[in-house]
């Protein structure tokens, strides 16, 4: 038996009709076509499915879709603004922080949440914030460099009024 409810994702309103056991990840990927969030383990171990619920990172593969009803969901597709990359996205690309790219959406959501709560993080802060996101390609070095650089860029962009 399917349940019908409303989901607000990246500012868009959707009405979905899914079985109660449907996870938020399945709903995003297979109902709404938002395939940016990835399934790497399906049990909350790898972090590739990380999205925001009301601005806080959650593992969408172990969150029921219904949980997100009447809350704001943000996915990797919602990071860029009017076609302009979030400084984190730009830095990750430029610095070689995305090799295969499969963990990247989850890394971005965890790192972007960090920069919202801590605009001037230390390397240790970044390592802590990413501890729930497994990357198999990079050894994390270039990801951490990118996040630290993006923090600087984002602060400058915000003080110049160029980024919300």
């Amino acid at each position: 038996v399917k349940e019908t409810f409303r989901l607000a994702v990246n500012g868009d309103a959707h009405e979905v009709s899914v079985e109660p056991r449907t996870t938020l990840l399945e709903c995003l990927r297979y109902e709404l076509g938002l395939t940016g969030s990835k399934q790497g383990c399906d049990k909350g171990d790898c972090g590739a499915c990380t999205v925001w619920l009301d601005g806080r990172p959650v593992l969408s593969c172990i969150t029921l879709a219904r949980t997100a009803e009447a809350r704001r969901v943000t996915t990797v597709e919602g990071l860029a603004r009017s076609g302009r990359l979030h400084p984190l996205q730009d830095a990750l690309d430029l610095k070689g922080g995305a090799q295969c790219g499969f963990c990247t959406p989850g890394i971005l959501m965890s790192a972007a949440a960090l920069l919202e709560s801590n605009p001037q993080p230390t390397e240790d802060d970044v390592r802590q914030a990413l501890a729930g996101n497994l990357c198999r390609c990079t050894g994390y070095t270039k990801i951490i460099e990118a996040v630290l650089e993006a923090a600087t860029t984002l602060r400058a962009a915000r003080s110049a009024g160029e980024w919300p």
Partner: protein, 780 residues
């Protein structure tokens, strides 16, 4: 077929480039950071069904019968396949085709595929699996190398020629007996390298789509579309020209997707049976059981040297636990011996390697295939030797350098060799001289070196065709499209081809489109394995681009009435240097060429140099490569004497990649390799319970290092400018992993005087090694 690069194109240190050597973006990078790059599971086709595979719960069992009647009767189920749907065996190595897509007569390990069901959705397919009745007759399993050799009558793999021996290789070069007798010191010990698995974050996924014309389109997260293409044709008994293999974005592979898997055959046959597209996405547990990862090896070495530290002879005896199938095992067995003969000169060398079958998931190629394990043992033996001879470990290595333009004792041709510079770089950057035997007790540094191939000199199936092909289309808009069969698995090879073509044709990177990973559209490239793409596909792209460049220069030369060789193509322009009157956007020059020669396009090829690069003995072709990379690591560790916990503080990685076509990508490979080696040293183990069940088939229990566990790493790029590599480039993807484990082991010894010989270096093993130490550590 173009064979390598002409001597006139020999790379030099003073060459200047517009694109090569710059920290450019990757061509698909912005699609990755926005979540827009499509991986196989992101693809949804109309009317697509989902399938699941039923797996054997027994490690060794004869299949007496399968009854799928109840499963087929379940609403939403559309088709079932079993072993009987695939009577033709397959295998990545043509001489060892010893597995079936689904078990035909017997299941060889817990997790071996037995049947597959296609249904409306995954959950219905999973429910249907429970309704399939399989009658098993249990057979005695063997789980260890010793059991397998002691009980040939309990044969695991019926294709084995003798008992449970998968492959035996014995090769000898020079007089080892005499070399050991002439040695003042002989280190003789045994090491054990534990199995580990690739664990790419993307699980394997495939979609089969049989069209009404009888054409099969197969989407897969493979890293070898061409070999998959061949085996699909063989198993499905279809001509290759009716099959199209598409490799979408691949979320990591590391060797774990370099042969066909049950899911690809299953979706193809199920699609054929149901007339609808069918997808299978492995669960994470299935990825662990499908495996094909690092082989556990027990390695016994005798390493002899004279008093002044010159190696005299090396002898190895190696036992390899292969799991249930051959996979690449024939090659693994050769590699375990053949790839040890550089970067050090050894006058005599002998190895005896035996790979056996056991009732466990098959092992295969993991980053640094077959040579990471012997490298660990050998570099640890060198550390013991340096201590006994009282020679600094880096100095000991320097005394045995093999040098450039030479032959190894097993007759492999070595061309460029930046290993001495690698040693210098890690010694300097790590402040080795201030640290080795000088840090406070509990802290230490260790060094190790290695070499690796830039592709194999011979393809997996014998043929005289190019290993890499490339086609380039240039049109009047200024756009350049590069068609190549390469497989980008995150290493950035699509971008590498774009950099090369942009450099040659003078266009901006944004004007390049790369069409890859599609057997209908692109010429054959053998795939992303053995670190071959930069060297081989790079040369093919260079060949194709230079042919077009000649046409463009000739046409523009006629327009300007100058000699063609005065025209440069760079940065989006065609120009005569120093002549402000003669500069036009490069698209203009393309138009001149199109007007002069007609529609523009070219092909390029690369094939290996052939017999000139290896010895003429049985097995001499395996391990032969057109060029070798070199690496040195220094690791710095802290060891807690009470708990036995080892913490790696930093790893300095120096790697000779020939030339860094993009330093960011090369560093990424160096850091990723060092991370993965460090993980094998301290964290990961593909381990099984006594009944054959995996001990922890999840990303929680199988311990991948997190951002908090991974040490600082410093990449030091060494450029030896190989004369046959594209602009001098060699591999960077696998070589830098090799020294990780021995450098850490040797650093543990420097820290606390304990020799760890068994992976992973768990706290208990370190404590055991500490207990074996006689008295306090007098190393300093």
């Amino acid at each position: 077929v173009a064979v390598s690069t002409k001597s006139t194109d020999r790379p030099t240190a003073t060459q200047s480039f517009s694109v090569i050597g710059k920290r450019n973006r990757k061509v698909e990078g912005r699609r990755k950071v926005t979540g827009q790059l499509l991986y196989t599971d992101d693809i949804v086709l109309p009317r697509m069904l989902h399938a699941k595979i039923l797996r054997s719960p027994h490690p060794h069992a004869r299949i007496k019968g399968i009854d799928a009647t109840r499963a087929l009767a379940l609403p939403g189920v559309h088709g079932v396949v079993t072993g009987r749907d695939f009577p033709v065996p397959y295998g990545i190595i043509p001489w060892t085709r010893d597995e079936y897509p689904l078990a035909l007569d017997k299941a060889l390990y817990i997790g071996d595929g037995v049947a597959a069901v296609a249904a409306d959705d995954e959950r219905t397919a999973a429910d249907a699996l429970k309704l399939i009745e399989v009658e098993y007759e249990l057979l005695p399993p063997v789980f260890s190398v010793e059991e397998a050799l002691a009980h040939p009558e309990n044969q695991v793999n019926p294709f084995a020629k003798v008992g449970n021996v998968s492959k035996h290789v014995h090769l000898s070069f020079g007089d080892v007996e005499q070399g050991l007798a002439a040695s003042d010191e002989v280190v003789s010990d045994t090491w054990f390298y534990a199995g580990s698995t690739h664990a790419p974050i993307e699980p394997h996924c495939a979609i089969g789509d049989f069209g009404p014309e009888g054409l099969l389109t197969l989407y897969s997260s493979t890293q070898v579309p061409h070999y998959l293409h061949r085996e699909l044709a063989r198993v499905l008994e279809m001509p290759m020209d009716r099959i199209r293999v598409i490799q979408p974005g691949v979320g990591g592979a590391f060797g774990g997707k370099s042969e066909p898997f049950d899911l690809e055959f299953a979706v193809a046959r199920l699609s054929q049976k149901t007339g609808r597209p069918v997808k299978i996405l492995y669960t994470r547990e299935e990825v662990f059981y499908s495996h094909r990862g690092r082989h556990p090896m027990r390695l016994a070495y005798e390493v002899g040297a004279t008093r002044d530290g010159r190696l005299q002879a090396v002898r190895a005896r190696i036992h390899i636990d292969g799991g249930a199938y051959s996979s690449f095992g024939l090659v693994t067995t050769y590699y375990s011996g053949q790839l040890l003969c550089a970067p050090y000169r050894m006058p005599a060398y002998e190895f005896d390697s035996t790979r056996v079958f056991t009732n466990k998931p098959a092992c295969g190629p993991k980053r640094g295939h077959g040579s990471v394990q012997p490298r660990f043992a050998f570099e640890c033996a060198l550390d013991v030797l340096s201590e006994r001879l009282e020679i600094d470990p880096i100095e000991l290595r320097r005394r045995n350098l093999i040098g450039e333009d030479t032959r190894t004792v097993n007759e492999m041709r070595v061309t460029s060799n930046g290993f001495p510079q690698c040693l210098d770089a890690v010694e300097r950057a790590s402040e080795w001289k201030k640290k080795h035997r000088k840090l406070p007790y509990g802290q230490g540094v260790g060094v190790a070196g290695s070499t690796y191939i830039s592709g194999t000199n011979y393809p997996i199936y014998p043929n005289d065709m190019p290993q890499s092909g490339c086609q380039i289309k240039v049109d009047r808009s200024g756009r350049v499209t590069v068609f190549s069969g390469v497989s980008d698995i995150g290493q950035g090879c699509d971008s590498t081809l774009a950099y090369i073509v942009a450099e040659e044709l003078g266009v901006e990177l944004e004007a390049i489109r790369v069409v890859a990973g599609d057997t209908d559209l692109a010429p054959v490239d053998l795939g992303a394995y053995s670190s071959r793409i930069t060297f081989m596909a790079g040369n093919a792209a260079l060949d194709a681009a230079r042919k077009l460049k000649r046409q463009v220069r000739e046409a523009q030369a006629a327009v300007w009435d100058v000699a063609p060789d005065r025209i440069e193509l760079a940065g989006g322009f065609a120009l005569v240097p120093g002549d402000p009157e003669r500069v036009v956007p490069v698209a203009k020059a393309f138009q001149a060429a199109e007007a002069r020669f007609g529609t523009l396009g070219s092909t390029g090829s690369y094939n290996t140099p052939g017999q000139a690069v290896h010895g003429e003995y049985r097995g001499g072709t395996i391990g032969a490569s057109p060029a070798y990379s070199f690496t040195a690591h220094v690791a710095e560790v802290e060891v807690d004497e009470v708990t036995g916990i080892v913490t790696v503080k930093k790893i300095w990685v120096a790697h000779d990649c020939g030339r860094a076509l993009n330093p960011t990508l090369v560093e990424g490979q160096m850091e990723g390799s060092a991370y993965m080696g460090h993980a094998e040293a301290l964290f990961e183990e593909q381990d099984f319970q006594p009944n054959g069940l995996h001990r922890g088939p999840s990303l929680l229990e199988y311990r991948l290092p997190t951002s908090l566990d991974t040490p600082d790493m410093e990449s030091l790029i060494i450029e030896s400018l190989d004369r046959e590599g594209p602009y001098g480039a060699k591999e960077a993807g696998e070589g830098p992993l090799h020294p990780s484990v021995p450098a850490i082991a040797n650093a543990i010894y420097d820290a606390v005087g304990a020799r760890v010989t068994e992976l992973p270096f768990y706290p208990g093993r370190v404590r055991k090694a500490l207990a074996a130490r006689r008295g306090p550590w007098k190393g300093r």
